[in-house]
């Protein structure tokens, strides 16, 4: 016994060393230690290593979880995963530690007389199903809603969609990916007619330049950033950081260019102006593969309830587009973007050089933008004008935040307008869904209902009377939570929250359902590069914790839809995935069979003839291209991508005399989104225990603010008190403050504005006006 314990202790020591080595490798690509990571692992130890994707971010690193006597005791990077090649970031290494948190939700809790009472799971599920049924009977099917997540697994998203759209017959399903990815989706659909990036992470090994648009990859996509740094050191590839705040990414880049919030629209147009003006257009590519469109302008900002907007595309020609760009000469744009003429020309020259391969990366900076769809279109314009797209090392690449924002929210389609294939507005798509789901076609409504912000507004108005949230924490993550928290507390709405830990959202629930965590269930995620990854259940969850997909199925059965959900508890993940795959059959989106995903560290769709497709729309790599040309943008009926004429328009709320600062919000490397998991991981919590408000030192100086001093940040909507941070993690531009949103004790989203992009309906968390004062 003693012997085996000593072995285990030695093993853990080696694991600790291995974790540090790999963390060092993330920070210093190419670092070598006297003893390499693998050499430190015990030979013949009794750990069982199980593969899966990381729980935390959209990079989708492969992990191996060491299981010893039914307990997860260690995590290491999966050397077979081409995503991370054995590397992990600090969140990845420590992920399993959150399962040891003492306040884990292990049993269902039902609110009775204002107190939560532990209730057997079956009883709690009865209550939820009865309440949902009763609400539909009394108020109609559009009075109930589900709000799910880009962290839901593919099967979880699929059964939620089937229950709401196929069984009940309401489109009242949306998800938190609306808050992070909707503009990327709308951008892809408008420019290419097909969602998700055309390239893959291997682009990193080929590009000469990486241009990051408002994207702090060193903290948000650390493993990809370390791969970029390796290419910078090894091949001299260059990283250009284009942002509104100086971050760890800026300091590690070759060049950092700062711009005034919202003016990225104008700078992108100025780059296109320069490309045309200097004769850098790839003429044959544009002639063969591109159309020009313009849409409506002055779209509004969605600030009022029941806001509606529908774009009207009109065809234009190259000359009209060229004329439009005359308003965006570098000289004109430099005046309000605060980017010098020289820097605009420098960026344009990189994109314009036919001998340089360029990848553009972005994430929340461009998506969480009241003109987010436009901004996505504009970066596509640059790549389309120069023909730098769909080739190794050349392409626009929208990164995701959540581990399955692509796989679940976008591909399964847990948005109000989506179906597992296509959209509810399209009769053909509704007919396909009805056929696979075995429901009458008429049951699936043809009109989208509530996107995330409007869904919670409808709760506030009393239009939604039952809401079930899964794998998400909207009362920390929604904009303007000051409105939506009291809305969810109203008697008029019955609130069900499924989660792993208590959160400010579960605090207002009528029923709390105890969910299984990541490795306590089987599942599939889809990452930013269209890679689907499967994992098998690795350990048992505590108490009566249950996988979210299974809870949805149990509710469906109790509501009388059992025949539509004929899955078994043991194999439901497999059965659901096999059913779901039928939606995407064919060369354009074929998904890998489960047997392949069980064996390999993921596969990229379209998966055709036993092979992942790494670069879509390029006939050399993509078997779905069928126009006998070198490229085929088959998402559009005529096979051509669209360059969009999109102007610069200001933000809805800009700093003024009363509220003189921009407020920008975002994330930090240590914490995953609202912190409900990472704040329960001691190492991560200690490293970043609380939120802060970051100042430019000149602003701090003129206001007499010292580091650590308590500061009240207020907007027209609410306020939040946080310690000041000067010259620490990041450096905002003058006139701007930055606050991370992970801390439920300092709710910065009480301060933010719920304005959104009228096309994508994604809120802008990066820009509103605030004042600051000593608290």
């Amino acid at each position: 016994m003693q012997n085996s314990l000593t072995n285990r202790r030695n093993f853990i020591k080696k694991m600790a060393a291995a974790a540090a080595m790999t963390a060092a490798a993330t920070m210093f690509p190419g670092i070598i230690f006297a003893s390499e990571q693998e050499a430190n692992l015990p030979k013949g130890g009794n750990l069982d290593w199980k593969k899966g994707p990381c729980r935390f971010c959209g990079v989708g690193c492969g992990i191996l979880v060491g299981v010893d006597q039914g307990k997860a005791v260690a995590v290491k990077g999966d050397p077979n995963s081409s995503v991370n090649k054995g590397l992990l970031c600090v969140k990845g290494y420590h992920q399993i530690m959150c399962t040891q948190a003492k306040d884990r939700l292990t049993h269902a809790l039902v609110k009775k007389n204002g107190k939560y009472v532990q209730t057997p799971i079956n009883e709690a599920l009865d209550i939820v199903a009865n309440k949902m049924k009763e609400t539909i009977e009394k108020h109609g099917k559009d009075s109930v809603a589900m709000y799910t997540s880009g962290q839901s697994t593919i099967p979880e998203g699929y059964v939620a969609s089937k229950l709401m759209k196929g069984a009940i017959g309401t489109n009242n399903l949306d998800c938190n990916a609306r808050l992070c990815m909707a503009s990327a989706v709308a951008g892809f659909l408008t420019s290419f007619g097909a969602d998700e990036p055309m390239g893959c992470y291997d682009d990193i090994d080929h590009a000469d330049y990486f241009i990051t648009w408002g994207n702090n990859m060193a903290e948000m996509h650390p493993v990809l950033f370390s791969r970029m740094l390796e290419q910078k050191n090894r091949r001299g590839a260059k990283i250009i950081d284009f942002a509104t705040r100086t971050t760890r990414s800026s300091t590690a880049s070759n060049k950092s260019i700062l711009f005034e919030p919202q003016t990225d629209l104008a700078v992108a147009n100025a780059i296109c102006y320069e490309i045309i003006n200097n004769g850098w257009v790839n003429k044959s590519f544009v002639e063969n593969h591109v159309n020009f469109n313009k849409g409506l302008t002055n779209m509004g900002y969605g600030l009022e309830d029941k806001f509606k907007f529908k774009d009207k595309p009109t065809k234009i020609d190259f000359e009209a587009y060229k004329k439009f760009l005359e308003d965006y000469t570098p000289e004109k744009v430099a005046k309000y973007s605060k980017v010098s003429v020289k820097d605009i020309k420098y960026l344009a020259a990189i994109y314009g050089d036919p001998n340089k391969k360029v990848v553009s990366y972005w994430c929340m900076g461009m998506n969480q933008h009241t003109r987010g769809t436009w901004m996505n279109n504009l970066v596509y314009n640059i790549h389309l004008l120069t023909g730098k797209i769909s080739q190794p090392g050349n392409g626009p690449f929208s990164l995701t935040g959540q581990p399955s924002a692509c796989g679940t929210a976008r591909e399964v389609g847990t948005f109000t307008h989506k179906l597992p294939k296509g959209v509810v507005m399209n009769e053909k798509h509704r007919r396909l869904a009805a056929k696979i789901w075995k429901v009458p076609y008429e049951r699936i409504p043809s009109k989208p209902t509530y996107h995330a912000t409007e869904m919670f507004r409808a709760v506030d108005r009393g239009d939604i009377k039952f809401i079930w949230t899964q794998v998400t924490n909207p009362l920390v993550s929604l904009p303007k939570t000051g409105r939506y928290r009291p809305a969810m507390e109203k008697e008029s709405c019955f609130v069900v929250v499924s989660d792993v830990f208590p959160t400010p959202t579960s605090d207002v629930a009528d029923v709390i359902l105890p969910a299984s965590w990541h490795i306590e269930k089987s599942g599939l995620y889809g990452n930013s590069e269209r890679r689907t990854q499967h994992w098998d259940k690795m350990v048992e969850g505590p108490g009566e914790t249950t996988p979210d997909a299974w809870m949805t199925i149990e509710i469906a059965k109790r509501m009388g839809y059992g025949d539509l959900f004929p899955y078994s508890e043991e194999n439901h993940v497999e059965e659901i995935y096999n059913e779901y795959r039928q939606f995407h059959e064919g060369a354009k989106h074929g998904m890998a069979p489960l047997e392949v995903l069980k064996k390999e560290s993921g596969a990229i769709w379209p998966y055709v003839n036993g092979k992942s497709t790494q670069w879509r729309f390029n006939a050399k790599y993509d078997p779905a291209c069928s126009n006998d040309k070198d490229f085929h943008f088959y998402g559009k009926p005529d096979g051509k991508a669209v360059i969009w004429q999109r102007p610069y328009e200001p933000a809805p709320e800009v700093p003024d005399a009363e509220y003189p600062f921009w407020l920008n919000t975002g994330r930090v490397i240590e914490h995953w989104h609202t912190g409900s998991m990472t704040r329960r991981i001691p190492v991560l919590h200690k490293a970043m225990p609380e939120a802060y408000v970051e100042f430019h030192p000149d602003d701090a100086n003129s206001l007499g603010i010292r580091n650590g001093e308590k500061i009240k940040v207020s907007s027209r909507r609410g306020s939040c008190v946080l310690p000041a941070s000067i010259n620490q993690r990041g450096l905002p531009t003058k006139g701007q403050v930055f606050v991370p949103f992970f801390d439920e004790n300092m709710l910065i989203n009480d301060v933010t504005l719920d304005a959104f992009c009228p096309i994508s309906k994604e809120p802008d968390y990066k820009k509103c006006a605030v004042k600051v004062e000593k608290a």
């Binding site: 285990r8 202790r9 600790a16 060092a24 070598i32 006297a34 001691p682």
Partner: protein, 79 residues
């Protein structure tokens, strides 16, 4: 019974000196990087108090610029 690993960043040009000072501390293993100014430190102590003491002794070394915790495992008491 904590086991912890850290990244230890030496003051400029003091990697060797830091290495030497660290190897004199009990319950503390050191693995130097070959090509960067960085050391890995693994501590293995009997109790939380000992763990804190070891950490304090490491932090007192003047050649140390920054000590960053990477992982912390707690093993069973009877180990």
């Amino acid at each position: 019974m904590p086991i912890k690993s850290y990244l230890a960043h030496p003051q400029e040009g003091k990697k060797e000196a830091l290495m030497e000072a660290l190897s004199k501390i009990d319950h503390c293993d050191v693995i130097p990087a070959e090509n960067k100014e960085l050391l890995i430190v693994v501590t293995d102590t009997e109790s939380k108090t000992d763990d804190e003491k070891v950490k304090e002794s490491i932090e007192a070394i003047k050649y140390l610029k920054l000590l960053a915790l990477v992982s912390g495992f707690n093993t069973p008491k009877n180990n």
